[in-house]
């Protein structure tokens, strides 16, 4: 019997939790540092415009053509409202949390790749929905903006992200116990 197998389950579980927490925090810190190395103008002119704002404007115009929204650099604007996407409001923090958790969790490489892609897609879609929704809030229910933007929506995104991770981790653990289910 190897020394690791002689450990009581509680100790092994605690050690796994500790490694996960440390890995989670370290991966997040790396992503955060890399994110802050990207110059503001590249984010504003390219990433936010092409990746977020232009698509949000198209979605808003599709839902409500009367809004006649335009995408200008990092702004979604119309005659009713203007919404600016800035660093920190782009879903990056939430994406980094999920990516860090997926990388820190013990799972196969294929499963991790699936988790990383899934996390990106879900956060991207949620963030687009958030921006489109916030546009309509600014346009029609302006007093709701602060509580929604600073409290309800961010906390809900973290909760939804946590659920995504919990189910992904559950699937990964089930597969590692029963590889025949992998197909």
């Amino acid at each position: 019997m190897s020394p690791a197998m002689q450990q009581p389950p509680a100790t092994a579980g605690s050690r796994r939790s500790l490694f996960f927490i440390l890995g989670f925090a370290a991966c997040y810190a790396v992503f955060h540092t890399l994110y802050f190395m990207i110059p503001d103008d590249i984010l504003r002119e390219r990433v936010y415009h092409d990746g977020i704002v232009a698509i949000s404007a198209a979605i808003i115009n599709f839902i409500a053509p009367g809004e006649a929204v335009t995408a200008l650099a990092n702004r979604v604007q119309s005659t009713r409202a203007a919404l600016e996407v800035v660093r920190g409001c782009d879903g990056a923090g939430m994406l980094f949390l999920l990516w860090a958790a997926v990388l820190a969790f013990p799972a196969s490489l294929a499963r991790k790749a699936m988790g990383l892609v899934g996390a990106f897609l879900i956060i991207y879609m949620l963030n687009q929905a958030r921006i489109v929704g916030l546009y309509f809030v600014v346009a029609y229910r302006e007093p709701w903006f602060i509580p929604l933007h600073t409290f309800f929506v961010p906390s809900l995104l973290v909760i939804l992200g946590s659920l995504f991770f919990a189910w992904w981790a559950f699937g990964s653990s089930t597969l590692s116990r029963d590889p025949s289910r992998a197909a």
């Binding site: 996960f20 989670f24 860090a100 509580p147 409290f151």
Partner: protein, 213 residues
């Protein structure tokens, strides 16, 4: 963990978020009043050069924690520029924004699957001191970091480079998503600690030996 247990935990998480969010929004003002002395204590620890004065202020339909910090003595900003003693800096933070990591932390702990009620109580017992740490690392540290922005601007206006203070770096980290990381790490750490205590092997007390050697 079974699929049913995870489904139940997921529902508890959503329900906890809903109840805590509505409660936090509804009772933002009294919660902020309760937090003020602790914020004050934290600000004294974080930045001893400044005397903080905190108040809960209403701005339109939202409440914010309003900080007026007064320089206790002359504070050097660059080699040639200093903030005179008695000068004040005003900043603030939205109350509900401060509550986000608290809501996340408590929601995760309420949802965390445990064996029985005793385990849940043990988990929440561990959570109380950790919650204080979560609050200190998020709300007051954001205020302490925001306070330093005018000093950076002052140095910039004087054409000098001022290294970014650690509190300002931390504030940026917290504001971009670090507060969620702090809340989640604290919650997972709490749960792991409570589980380790619950499952630790019972210590065997050796009977006294009467043999003399």
């Amino acid at each position: 963990m079974t699929r049913v247990a995870l489904r139940n935990a997921s529902l508890r998480l959503l329900l906890a978020w809903l109840v805590l969010s509505i409660g936090g929004f509804w009772y933002a003002r009294p919660i902020a009043q309760v937090l003020l002395p602790y914020f004050d204590l934290c600000l004294h620890v974080f930045n001893r050069d400044w005397q903080p004065m905190l108040a809960v202020a209403r701005e339109h339909d939202n409440y914010s924690i309003h900080l007026v910090a007064t320089a206790r003595q002359s504070i050097p900003v660059t080699s040639t520029v200093a903030v005179e003693a008695g000068r004040t800096i005003t900043t603030g933070v939205n109350v509900v924004h401060v509550l986000v990591p608290i809501v996340v932390f408590v929601s995760v702990l309420v949802a965390w699957p445990v064996r029985d009620l005793r385990a849940r109580i043990r988990l929440l017992f561990f959570a109380l001191p950790v919650l204080l740490l979560v609050v200190a690392l998020t709300g007051p540290s954001v205020l302490a970091g925001k306070m330093l922005i005018p000093l950076q601007d002052l140095a910039l206006a004087a054409g000098a480079h001022r290294p970014e203070p650690l509190l300002l770096t931390w504030m940026l980290f917290v504001e971009v998503g670090g507060s969620w990381l702090v809340a989640l790490v604290a919650a997972i750490g709490c749960a792991a600690l409570a589980q380790a205590v619950q499952e630790r092997p019972a210590r065997r007390i050796a009977p006294p030996s009467w043999d003399s050697t």
